[in-house]
C-alpha cells in the first residue's frame, strides 16, 4: 500500500516535483502540463546550491558526479540531514558517499506543511485545507518532530523524479526505450549492451526533460538504505572540530557584539552613563542602543562581553513587571479553582459520577516549573547589512522566520536577504524564535558594511529564554476495585504556548487560546479505557515569554498523567503495568509497546535488593514510547539511575540508529529537567544564570539505555521529541516504588533527592 489514489478536488503535491528543471541557477519553469494552483510553490532560486544542473528543487548534479542535495530541514543533532538524504538517495540510486548537503534559501518548495497540517493520512495525496493555507505561508521550519514525516513522500518523489529524468536523458542519447535503462549507484546502465553513463554526464540533458507522470516509488522490500543503520553524514566533521556552527562563522572583517537585555521584565534600556569610557577601551568599536536593548561591538567576543558587563545602562522601568514565582503560583491556584477556560476532551458525565461517589475519589495536585532550553551553543547570529542586500549567518530552525525577521528590522526586501545556514548547537525549540535574529540585525544596522556577530552570553541566554511554561494541575478520579476507571477529571492551569508563540512569530499568526491544543497535548486522547473523562484548562496570562520546548505540552502532561495512572493503580491495589495493560485492548499499538517494554525489562521478575523500577507510556508527534527505569536506593533520598529500557513505535523508520540516538537523547533531556530544571522569578528577574544554578545530567549520573524499535509499515511518526515525556514519570514512579512517597512536583533535587 505504498501508493494511494489521489483524492479528487485536491491539488496534487506531486505536481511541483514533476517539473522540468533548469541548468545552473535560475527559476524553475514549467510544470509539466500539470496545473498547480499555488503559484509560489513552483519557484526556487537555487541560490547557494553550487555547481551543476538542477533536476528539481532538491537535487543538483555536477559534471564531476557530485550530488548536491538541498535539504531544507536543519541539522541540530536529530539526524535529519542524513535521514532526508537517505530517502532521496534511495530513489535516486546514488551512494551516500557521493552526497554533499547544502541548505537552500527559504523558498516555497521547501515549506513544511506537515508541522501545521498534521494530516498524515492525506499528506501525500494532495493538499488538505490546512495544507493549502500553510503552503501560501511558505513556512520553512524544522520542528515538531516533523522532518521525516513531512519528507517521507516528498523526498522519495524528489529522488524518483530525478531518476526518471536521468533515465530518459540516457534513453535519448542511446536512442533506446527508457525501459532498457536502469539506474544504479550514480549511473544509468543500458541493459541491452551494458553501456554506462554517469549522472554527471547526463545531468545537463536530464534537467531539460519534462516528466509527464508520477514516477513509481520503489517497493519497500527493495530498499537498500531506508530502514538500515546508515552512518550520519555530519559526524566526521563534528569529531574534527571542522563543523561550522553559527558561532564559528568568520566572514571577512567580522566584529563581535555582546548583547544586554533589560534587567527586569518589561523594562527598556534608554541610555548609558559611561558610553564614552567604554568606547575608549581596547578593541571596543561601538556601544549601540537598539529597541531591544544594548550592545557593545568589539574585535573580540571577550572584550565585547566584559565591556557589556561594565556598561552602565539607564533603564525605564515604567512598564516593568515585578513578577515572582510565588505570585505566578498563586494565579495558577486561582485558575484551578475557577471554571475551566476550555474543555479539550469530554466523554460521558464526569461531574455526575464524581458527585455520586465523593468519598472514594482519588485526588491529586501536580506542578512543574518554567524550564530553559539551554542549548549548548549560546544564541548568536551574524549579520552583514549592505546598501542593497543583507547576509545572515546562523543556525536557526526556521529559515523563513529568519528572512522575515531580518527583512522587518532592516527594511530590506526579502529577496535581497541571503541566509547562510549553519549547523545548530542544539535547538529544542529555542532556535525557532525570531528574537535573537531581530536583535542581531538591529545591532548590525548600526555597523553597516561590516559583518557583526551578536552573541548572548550564557547568562543572557538563560535569563532571556522563551520558557516551557510553569504548570499546575488537579486530578480527580474514581477507580473501581477491579481497576475500572469510572471517571477521570484533569484540569490544568498554564500559559498558552502556541497562542503566544504565533503572535510573536514572523509572520505573526493568530490562533485562539481555546484552540491551543498544545496546552492539553498528552493529557488528552490517552489510550486507556475510561468510562467518563474530561480534560480542561485555565489560561494564565502573565508577561513571561513561553515557547516550544522539546515535546511541548507532553513535556509536563506525560509527567502528570503517567504518575497519576500509577496513583490509580496503587489505589486499586493493582500492579502499575497490569493496570495500564488492562485498559489498552482498543489501542493495539500502545499495548504492543507496553508489553514489549515489560518483556525487555523482565517486569514480572523480582529485582535485587534496593533496586526499584517505574514504568510510563506516552504518545506524541505520531510515535508511541514506553519506558521502564531501574534505580538503586543508596540512602534515604539518594539514588542511582541505572538503566532505561525504551520501546518506540514510530511506524516506518528511516535510519534506525538515529531513532535510537533520539530516544537516548530524549530520555537524558527529560531526566535533566526532572532532576534539576527550574527557572524561577523574583522581582521580574530570572534567578538562574548559568549551569551551576540550572544543572544538567552528566556522564556519571546518566543511565545505560537500551532501545527497541517496533517493526511495522505504518506512516512514520517523529522521533526527536517522543523520547522525552515518559522519562520523568517513569523515574517518579520508580521513586514511589522505592520510598512509598509520591512526588508530585519537579525538580527532584529541590525535594532533597540526590542522584549519583
Amino acid at each position: 500500500m505504498e501508493e494511494k489514489k489521489s483524492k479528487k478536488n485536491k491539488w496534487t503535491r506531486r505536481a511541483f516535483m514533476i517539473a522540468g528543471g533548469v541548468a545552473g541557477t535560475g527559476l524553475l519553469v514549467g510544470i509539466g502540463g500539470l496545473i498547480h494552483v499555488n503559484q509560489t510553490i513552483r519557484y526556487y532560486s537555487g541560490k547557494g546550491l553550487g555547481e551543476g544542473s538542477s533536476l528539481n528543487a532538491w537535487i543538483r548534479i555536477a559534471p564531476d558526479n557530485t550530488i548536491t542535495l538541498a535539504i531544507p530541514r536543519v541539522e541540530m543533532g536529530q539526524g535529519s540531514y542524513t535521514g532526508l538524504a537517505m530517502m532521496i538517495a534511495e530513489e535516486l540510486e546514488v551512494d551516500m558517499e557521493s552526497i554533499r548537503i547544502v541548505h537552500p534559501q527559504p523558498e516555497s518548495p521547501y515549506a513544511n506543511l506537515f508541522i501545521f497540517a498534521q494530516s498524515e493520512t492525506n499528506i501525500f495525496d494532495g493538499y488538505s485545507i490546512n495544507e493549502k493555507l500553510f503552503s501560501y505561508l511558505n513556512l520553512v521550519i524544522t520542528g515538531g518532530s516533523s522532518s521525516i514525516t513531512d519528507g517521507y513522500y516528498n523526498m522519495r518523489y524528489a529522488g524518483a523524479t530525478a531518476r526518471e529524468m536521468l533515465k530518459k536523458a540516457a534513453a535519448q542519447q542511446w536512442k533506446t526505450d527508457v525501459k532498457n535503462c536502469k539506474a544504479e549507484s550514480g549511473f544509468i546502465i543500458n541493459q541491452g549492451n551494458q553501456e554506462k553513463l554517469s549522472y554527471g554526464e547526463l545531468a545537463s540533458a536530464a534537467a531539460k526533460i519534462k516528466v509527464s507522470s508520477t514516477p513509481e516509488l520503489k517497493n519497500r522490500k527493495d530498499w537498500k538504505k531506508v530502514g538500515k543503520p546508515v552512518k550520519r553524514l555530519d559526524i566526521p566533521e563534528k569529531v574534527q572540530g571542522k563543523a561550522t556552527f553559527g558561532i564559528d562563522v568568520r566572514p571577512e572583517n567580522v566584529l563581535y557584539a555582546a548583547f544586554r537585555h533589560p534587567s527586569v521584565l518589561g523594562a527598556k534600556i534608554t541610555g548609558f552613563k559611561n558610553k564614552a569610557d567604554i568606547e575608549k577601551q581596547a578593541g571596543i568599536k561601538k556601544v549601540v542602543l537598539t529597541e531591544f536593548g544594548a550592545a557593545v561591538i568589539a574585535d573580540n567576543t571577550w572584550r565585547a562581553k566584559n565591556a557589556a558587563l561594565a556598561l552602565q545602562v539607564i533603564e525605564d522601568e515604567k512598564e516593568s513587571v515585578k513578577i515572582s514565582t510565588a505570585s505566578i503560583g498563586k494565579e495558577l491556584d486561582i485558575l484551578l479553582k475557577k471554571p475551566a477556560f476550555a474543555e479539550h476532551e469530554k466523554e460521558g458525565d464526569v461531574d455526575k459520577v464524581l458527585a455520586e461517589k465523593q468519598k472514594t475519589i482519588i485526588q491529586a495536585q501536580y506542578e512543574v516549573p518554567y524550564l530553559a532550553h539551554a542549548t549548548m551553543e549560546p544564541l548568536n547570529c551574524t549579520v552583514l547589512v549592505k546598501d542593497d542586500a543583507v547576509d545572515v549567518w546562523l543556525g536557526h530552525q526556521a529559515s523563513s522566520t529568519v528572512r522575515n525577521a531580518v527583512s522587518k528590522v532592516s527594511k530590506m526586501d526579502a529577496s535581497k536577504i541571503m541566509i547562510h545556514m549553519q549547523y545548530l548547537g542544539g535547538g529544542f525549540g529555542r532556535r525557532g524564535e525570531a528574537d535573537f535574529v531581530k536583535i542581531a540585525t538591529a545591532v548590525a544596522m548600526q555597523m553597516k558594511g561590516t559583518p557583526v556577530m551578536t552573541v548572548f552570553t550564557r547568562e543572557e541566554d538563560m535569563r532571556n529564554d522563551v520558557y516551557r511554561p510553569a504548570v499546575k494541575c488537579e486530578f480527580k478520579a474514581l477507580v473501581q476495585k477491579d481497576g475500572t476507571i469510572e471517571a477521570w477529571d484533569h484540569k490544568l492551569a498554564l500559559q498558552s504556548v502556541v497562542h503566544e508563540t504565533m503572535k510573536r512569530a514572523e509572520p505573526p499568526l493568530s490562533i485562539s487560546v481555546k484552540d491551543d491544543t498544545a496546552t492539553t497535548e498528552g493529557a488528552r486522547e490517552l489510550p486507556y479505557e475510561m468510562k467518563n473523562r474530561r480534560v480542561s484548562f485555565g489560561n494564565l496570562v502573565v508577561p513571561v515569554k513561553v515557547g516550544f520546548w522539546r515535546s511541548v505540552g507532553s513535556s509536563q502532561n506525560a509527567f502528570f498523567t503517567e504518575c497519576f495512572m500509577d496513583e490509580c493503580a496503587h489505589a486499586a491495589g493493582i500492579d502499575p503495568y497490569q493496570f495500564r495493560l488492562s485498559k489498552l485492548d482498543k489501542a493495539p499499538r500502545f499495548k504492543k509497546v507496553l508489553q514489549k517494554v515489560a518483556e525487555m525489562s523482565h517486569w514480572n521478575k523480582a529485582l535485587a535488593k534496593d533496586r526499584y523500577r517505574g514504568i510510563a507510556l506516552h504518545k506524541c508527534f505520531g510515535s508511541i514510547v514506553g519506558q521502564v527505569v531501574e534505580i538503586t536506593k543508596l540512602g534515604e533520598k539518594e539514588f542511582s539511575i541505572d538503566k532505561f529500557y525504551c520501546v518506540v513505535d514510530c511506524g516506518t523508520y528511516i535510519n534506525p540508529d538515529s531513532v535510537k540516538a533520539q530516544m537516548e537523547s530524549g530520555i537524558i533531556f527529560g531526566l535533566s529537567a526532572a532532576l534539576f530544571g527550574e527557572i524561577t522569578w523574583q522581582d521580574g528577574k530570572v534567578q538562574q544564570s548559568n549551569f551551576p544554578q540550572y544543572d544538567m545530567i552528566r556522564l556519571k549520573a546518566s543511565p545505560e539505555i537500551e532501545t527497541y524499535i517496533i517493526e511495522n509499515e505504518e506512516f512514520p511518526g517523529g522521533v526527536g521529541e517522543p523520547g522525552t515525556p515518559p522519562a520523568a514519570p517513569a523515574l517518579a514512579n520508580a521513586l514511589f516504588a522505592a520510598t512509598g512517597v509520591r512526588e508530585r512536583s519537579l525538580p527532584l533535587v529541590k525535594l532533597g533527592y540526590k542522584f549519583v
Binding site: 536529530q78 563534528k238 569529531v239 549548548m376 550564557r458 540516538a661 530520555i667 556519571k700
Partner: protein, 162 residues
C-alpha cells in the same frame, strides 16, 4: 602583551591582554573555532583543550598561563592521514548529535587516555564531567570503554608474546 603560543605544534604570535582567556585567543584572534564557548565559567567543558597533555577549560584559563606550554586543540589531534583513536571511536559509535560539546568531550577523553590508557568505568565517569545537552552519554561511555578494551587486548597480546 605579546605572546608566542605553541598550538598543535605550530607557533602563533598574538598581542592580547594577559587576562584574555585562551578560548577567545583561539577563537577570535586565531580563528581556531573547533574549541567551543559554552558557559564561560568552566562549568560545561565545551572549551576543553590540552596544556602539556592536561585538560583545561580554556574559557577560564588566561592566555598568560599558556604561553610556555604545548597547547593541543581538537584541530590538532588527527594526523594528516589519520584521525585519532578517540575520533575513530566517536564515529564508530556515532556519538555526536548536535556536536557542539563534542570537541570538549573528545579533548577530555584524549587527556584521560593519555594519562590512563585503560580506565575503569568509575575512572571514566569521574574524569569526564562535561555537559552534553543532547545526552550522548551512553555512547560516550561505550566509545571510551571500547578504546580501553582495545588497550586491554593489545596488552594481552604483548604479555602472551613475552
Amino acid at each position: 602583551m605579546k605572546y608566542t603560543l605553541n598550538i598543535n605544534q605550530q607557533n602563533h604570535q598574538v598581542d592580547v591582554e594577559a587576562a584574555m582567556p585562551l578560548l577567545w585567543v583561539l577563537r577570535d584572534e586565531l580563528n581556531l573555532t573547533g574549541t567551543k564557548f559554552g558557559c564561560g565559567i568552566a562549568s560545561c567543558g565545551a572549551c576543553t583543550v590540552l596544556l602539556d597533555g592536561k585538560p583545561v577549560r580554556s574559557c577560564s584559563y588566561p592566555v598568560s598561563g599558556a604561553a610556555d606550554k604545548k597547547i593541543t586543540t581538537i584541530e590538532g589531534i588527527a594526523s594528516e592521514a589519520k584521525l585519532s583513536a578517540v575520533q575513530e571511536a566517536w564515529i564508530e559509535h556515532q556519538v555526536p548529535q548536535c556536536g557542539y560539546c563534542q570537541s570538549g568531550m573528545i579533548m577530555a577523553t584524549e587527556a584521560l587516555l593519555q594519562e590512563n590508557p585503560n580506565p575503569s568505568l568509575e575512572e571514566i565517569e569521574s574524569a569526564i564531567t562535561n555537559i552534553c545537552r543532547c545526552g550522548t552519554y551512553s555512547r560516550i561511555r561505550q566509545a571510551i570503554l571500547s578504546l580501553a578494551k582495545k588497550v586491554n587486548a593489545a596488552d594481552k597480546t604483548q604479555t602472551e608474546k613475552a
